[in-house]
Amino acid sequence: MKSDAWFRYFAIGSTWFWLGVFSLLAFLLMLLASIMRQDQAHILYLPFTFNNYVLSFSPIYLTIFLRSFYLAGFCTFLCLVLAYPFAFLIARAEKNRREIMMLLLIIPFWTSSLIRSYAMVSLIKTKGIINTLLLTLGIIHQPMQLLYTNTAVMIGLVYNLLPFMILPLYANIERLDMRLVEAARDLGANRLTILKRIIIPLTMPGIVAGCILVLLPAMTLFYIPDLLGGAKSMLLGNLIQYQFLTAHNWPQGAAISMVLTLLMGLMLIAHKLLSHGKDSNEDFV
């Protein structure tokens, strides 16, 4: 009895400890940095200022914000469109085949995504595997310029983030009660109606979770635009990285990070409020 209680305190306590040190403390340090100053001689110094936040909304940063949102949003959309049928396929496959498919999906994760992005470069560069193959087959007559374009960045982002969309969708679709689909068919619903009125509403929690998991990294995976976009397309992640590592302007980087965190938080709250207002499916699915 006593050791049980002790274990409980230990388990919960260690979770709080980890969250406290690596999440809350880190967040507070960033918050602190974002309202400090910086010059040639000092990385950070007092007194406090809100100037970094004011600067964060200057036109040049705003442009990067909007571009990032646009690209990340598009990437999220692509991931959703690609992942949904795939997740459905896995979730509805026979059990042993399902395990193999999940394994195939997860294996690439064991390699660093940085290394995989380098591999992507060698695939899509002008004299890379894809161009050589297409030229040899006579499908194209001159090499395509893929590397260092927005398309390359998009391919890289989608490739790296697709599993983050597939996994929550899979978890959700697997629990989808197929008897409901049968009932809908029995009541005269065609495939489109079933998809629109039964399957998508019931898997909405998975869709939302997947979108959140993809959208944030899509904006901040700085090395993918660097490698595949040739540092031409600066996204939010690159901007923050630039402020910290190149410009040595920690307060500015911290402030931009804070704004991003705030935006994400607002989106989460908005989703929570909206889904509660509509009496969402999460209670059932």
Binding site: R179, L180, R185, A189, N281, F284, V285
Partner: protein, 365 residues
């Protein structure tokens, strides 16, 4: 008057992975009748429903609904609806939206949808719950939503797949009555699947007894109970005492057998010859039990000892060990003549049955 056939299965077989689930089923369902498919789990009764609703296709044979062959027709294009065992209510929709679903699929007009949905909900006494979610309802209420959701579309046939099995005993009794009333009110055919023989007998116009993918017997509840066509049916529907005996003598339509040491002569429809092996079937309620003080003439009676007494309120069930060692089930009813239905374990009694209530089946059937 020739009754209108609404569903017809002709020579239907169904195999899954080389396993035969249904074998050469011929079945016709008349318009407006309450037909029950009765059998143990795995006998293929649910498969018949799924073949009619279109979720499965027969391996052989044809199915027609309202005179139209429907082999290969998708479920959403068949005008039959199902009440599922799990209810399968859409959890993200209100009761109203659940019931309206089928009408919306047909593209019915808004005001018509509202009228018909509310009428259907009124019929199942749920109109005040229209805007609740299914999880906020009790099991019985969810069941009624499932029924309303199916009947609102005015199907030619309503298929019910063990719809009451998740309900408790009392509620099940109430729902049986309501379903029966609803069926009369709607006047459409109900095909009801159950493994509960009591439910089948009390609700149906016709019972189809199934076992291992074949139809064992079709008939009114009275027929399948009182004149079972084989031992399977007799054993599945109610309790039965079986005596395996040899025909000793025949004369016209009568035959003489020796049951546990006493000779009996019975009339029967079949032609048996001397030496035939037959099974004599007696229901527990056919058996009369007397204690020593009640009898003077024990001519046609068998002596036995009470082994178990099961008090059931309106009846008392007895397990009786005959002097030959055979165990007999008997059910005694309370009535004015016999108000002292008190038996003690180990009590010596006499057993008798009414000639003419027995069922005689040839051996091997």
């Amino acid at each position: 008057m020739q009754e209108k056939v609404i569903v017809e299965l002709h020579g239907v077989s169904k195999n899954y992975h080389n396993q035969t689930v249904l074998q050469n089923i011929d079945l016709t369902v008349n318009d407006g009748e309450f037909l029950t498919l009765l059998g143990p789990s795995g006998c293929g009764k649910t498969t018949i429903l799924r073949l009619i609703s279109g979720f499965e296709e027969p391996s052989r044979g044809s199915i027609s609904i309202n005179g139209q062959k429907v082999n290969g027709v998708a479920p959403h294009l068949r005008h039959v609806h199902t009440v599922f065992q799990s209810y399968a209510l859409f959890p993200h929709m209100s009761v109203f939206e659940n019931v309206a679903f089928g009408l919306r699929c047909q593209g019915a007009h808004k005001s018509e949808i509202s009228d018909r949905v509310m009428a259907a909900l009124k019929m199942v006494k749920l109109e005040q719950f229209a805007f609740r979610k299914p999880v906020q309802l009790s099991g019985g209420q969810q069941q009624r939503v499932a029924i309303a959701r199916a009947v609102v579309n005015r199907p030619l046939v309503l298929l019910l797949d063990e719809p009451l099995s998740a309900l408790d005993y009392r509620l099940r009794k109430t729902m049986q009555l309501e379903l029966k009333q609803l069926q009369r009110q709607l006047g459409i055919a109900f095909i009801f699947v159950t493994h509960d023989q009591e439910e089948a007998l009390s609700m149906s116009d016709r019972v189809v007894v199934m076992e291992e993918g074949t139809i064992q017997q079709m008939g009114s509840p009275r027929e399948v109970y009182e004149e079972p066509s084989n031992l399977n049916v007799a054993k599945f529907i109610g309790e039965v005492n079986i005596f395996s005996v040899t025909v000793l003598a025949t004369e016209g339509k009568t035959l003489t057998v020796n049951i546990e040491g006493s000779e009996h002569t019975y009339t029967n429809k079949r032609d048996f010859v001397v030496g035939d092996e037959v099974n004599i079937l007696l229901r527990p309620e056919d058996i009369r039990v007397y204690d020593n003080t009640e009898v003077t003439d024990t001519q046609d009676m068998l002596p036995g000892i009470v082994e178990e007494v099961i008090y059931k309120g309106s009846t008392v069930d007895l397990m009786i060990r005959l002097s030959t060692g055979k165990l007999l089930h008997a059910t005694e009813f309370f009535n004015e003549d016999d108000d002292s239905l008190v038996y003690t374990i180990g009590e010596r009694i006499w057993v008798q049955w009414v000639p003419g209530w027995e069922v005689i089946l040839p051996e091997g059937v």
